[in-house]
Point group: C2
DNA sequence: CGGCTGCATGAAGGAGACATCAAATCACCA
DNA sequence: TGGTGATTTGATGTCTCCTTCATGCAGCCG
């Protein structure tokens, strides 16, 4: 094995860590899409979208199929959707809790704390 | 809703997109750990690890519990492990396919392609 | 009290990711 | 064959993240 597992996993999550790439994946949930179709739906200019698609393609998350002068993309492994579902479930409950916490906080008085003394600049 | 869903999801994946943070999560799979216990297992210096823990904590992935002079961390939502499992499954099969492809490529002759002409520098 | 241990935070430089424009490539058609 | 539309690639400025050092701070113990 060239790279440790946790490094590979981290890289994998990194390829997913971009709003446009997430959108693309969610759009591909209901089937193949050409780049031209994705452009208006994702809202990026062609070259920018192509870069993002390239990142997903090089990570083997997406695959492109050439059809005439267009390229149609689809997901390599449908389990990616399962991943998105689990993420969504986690986020939904986590956010619900945070919101709840916020409500509770707003019902409390603010307690003023004195300003901390200024920090000395690090001499390097 | 302040931010679109795909932005929230992307941020979530971003908090996971670091090898040390993945390691921490995998270690917390079998229960609570103090920072001091994590240091040798993750292999980061204290302050660096603390920064990474802070990122996970602020994202509500981890929670810290103060016990005397130490802090014990645990995962907020156990479904995070499910997420890691799905990711692992995807990576395992994807990597297996890539390896297979590599083997096939190595059995082919290389076809030399002429160097492309130099690109003109963009004048901006 | 005073120092130590355990952890968190702030600041700063360097590395890497993003966004954007220009240019290249390929398929198709007039 | 030249032109046009669709997509990709390359180059580059900007911005964000990562890492490290210095410091802050709370609890514990002598």
């Amino acid at each position: 094995m060239t790279r440790p597992i946790y490094q590979v996993k981290a890289d994998f999550f990194k390829t997913l860590a971009h709003p446009a790439r997430i959108r693309v994946l969610e759009l591909l949930r209901d089937g193949e899409r050409s780049v031209g179709e994705l452009i208006p739906e994702v809202g990026l200019e062609a070259s920018h979208l192509s870069q993002q698609l390239g990142i997903l393609r090089r990570a083997n998350v997406l695959q492109g199929r050439k059809e005439g002068s267009t390229v149609r993309y689809s997901v390599t492994d449908p389990r990616i959707f399962e991943l998105l579902e689990v993420a969504k479930a986690i986020l939904t409950s986590t956010l619900a809790e945070s919101r709840q916490l916020l409500v509770e906080l707003e019902s409390l008085e603010f307690v003023e704390r004195p300003d901390p003394p200024p920090r000395r600049k690090a001499a390097r």
